[in-house]
Amino acid sequence: MMRNRFFTLLLVSFLTFGWILFSSTNSTFVLAQEATPTPAPTASPKVPSPHQTGDCLGCHSNPDMIGRFADGTTMSLYYDPKEHEGSDHIDGCRSCHDAQHDYPHENSQAHSCEVCHSQILGGNSPSELVFDITSYPDKRAVDMDINASCHKCHEDKFQKISDSEHTRVLEQGNRYAPICVDCHGSHNITSPNEPRTKIAEMCSKCHMSVYTTYATSVHGEALATESNPDVPTCNSCHGSHQVEGPKHVDFRADSVELCGNCHADQNLMDQYGVSTKVFQTYLDDFHGRTVDALHKAGDVKITKATCYDCHGVHNIQSPENELSSVYPANLQETCQQCHTEVGITFPQAWLSHYSPTWEDAPLLFAVIKFYKFFIPAVMGVFVVYIAVDARRRVADKLKKYSTKSVETSESQESGK
């Protein structure tokens, strides 16, 4: 009995302690305060802050808060909690703002009381609270520094992006090459493909001219107007993180398969009434066979036409659209990109991407049918004739041998 009572007491005291502890914390947005506050990285003799109990939002919820860099440019230091609504990241500020987690920021040299408390100190309330930022040269440097913290969770994406064209541009010294936050946003990080149009719009921030072209193409239009889930958007072809430069040899070599992924998919193409024969007929013809053979042999220099050489890249249109580079009237010009002096009959001398039928191409159809019958027939006659002939010859030879051996044995016997 004593023991039971003791445990009950212990439990009650625990619950009470817990209730006190939790009720004392600010449950609205617990960002800077974590259950076990980490000690300051360096035990530098610092004036104890009067805001020790305050959190990030204690200051950063003020819309007037502005940071000023050495070159005079400014950035808002205001954080709007609404931005974070619906975001996939609901961790605390410090999980990303790694370098800025100490309070008040030791790097910030202008955190004197007057900046905020001028009223208390007898001054006028400043309309803007301007803090000089000395630890970063400009806003881009802040972005890039904070961007590094994505690494902590998204290591795999970093691996991929490190091999991308964007990183290559970055390494060449262009600081405005896209980093995580440029595409994914910072506080308002949501799923990058919802809605799907977001992807192309994101890329358009830098690649505007390509975007405008794409938006008028058969793919882009379907994406914009009906939010089509099947049409390719930027990253369908270029990749998301491992963005490969379109001038990269591998991109060209892989491009046929890229188009084929969708255009050889019967189920997908049936929805739009697009022929899936395009892929196989391409592979059967001169260009496709060469490209595929080169690709299979590991040759990176693809010298023959791939899909996009004729159909266009971002401006792909349906072949029935007269803006299309493969619209019959435009074909001569398209072919002339490589075959400089061909006439109008040159493109007409092919069957496009259709396999022959009796109606479309009677001669070709007949030729195929004829040979498919003729070759087995002729070979059958040959084989039968040879079999009959060989049987007789072998039989003759065997008889000749046997009679010879009989004769020789007889003569030997008679000789004895």
Binding site: D285, F286, R289, T290, D292, A293, L294, K296, A297, D299, T303, H339, E341, V342, G343, T345, F346, Q348, A349, W350, L351, P356, A361, L363, L364, V367, I368, Y371, K372, F374, I375, V378, M379, F382, V383, Y385, I386, V388, D389, A390, R391, R392, R393, A395, D396, K399, K400, T403
Partner: protein, 304 residues
Amino acid sequence: MEKSKAEHSSFAPPAVKRTIYYRDAVEAVNRLHVSSIGKRYVIRFSLGQRIEHFVLIFSFTVLAITGLAQSYYNTLPGGFILSLFGGIDTSRQVHHVASLFLGILSLYHVAIFVDGAFVHRRFGKMLPAWSDVTDAIQTIKFSLGLASRRPHFDRYSFEEKVDYWALVLGTIIMGVTGIIQMFPAQLTLFLPAGWVIPVSRTLHFWQAILMVFAVLIWHSYHAVIKKKNLSIFNGNMTVEEMKEEHPLELAYLEQASAAIENKRWPLEIEIQLENVKETEAAIQIKDGSAEEIASKNHIEGSVE
């Protein structure tokens, strides 16, 4: 033996009559050749013809290998062969160079034919004739034991003619469709639009398959497997071989060469196949089944 000869003559073909000129007799003399050790040969192919065949072997093989490898680039052997030639582009170039050889060879062959036909007025040995049909039927009958003997072939047997014409017609198709594919941009300026290129591609592929099979099956059987016939390489055929393969030609050569001393030309000769018959009868004696219908008495008489 009197009985057997009389017996046999009923199965011999009607004597072949042929009008010959002095030059035919000279040619026959030249073609009947006796070697230094006294072995008798018939010169069957001239050096030019043998070189033609060498060039044909070379170009045909290269064309077939590089061509099929391009068509079947997706398979393991196809890919391997393409890589041997240094990729599909160089394979194609090799294919074009080999086709140039075959093209020149074909033109040469046509030139020789034109020279023979219109200058020397001598042709027709290779042309298909009705006798080829009867020869074929008789060969099959003999193989099945329904005829007493093989037909007496002249210069070219119907088997050789099939071989030759398959190659010639095939090469014409391959050449035309190949040239269309080689210069599509230039030729489409003249050719009817719409079907020329795909039909050429398709014909070229299927005809290639047909020709490769024909060579592998028909030619290899008749020239190598059935009986190793090296005359296209060394130009000669022994008289013994001629008796079996081309008895009619041998008989003709012997009689034409014998007529060399003749003073009046042209001369009509009647080709006798007596020698041939005897050798053949000797073989047929051993074969009972085939002779049952034909000459049972003759066999029995001979064995006795």
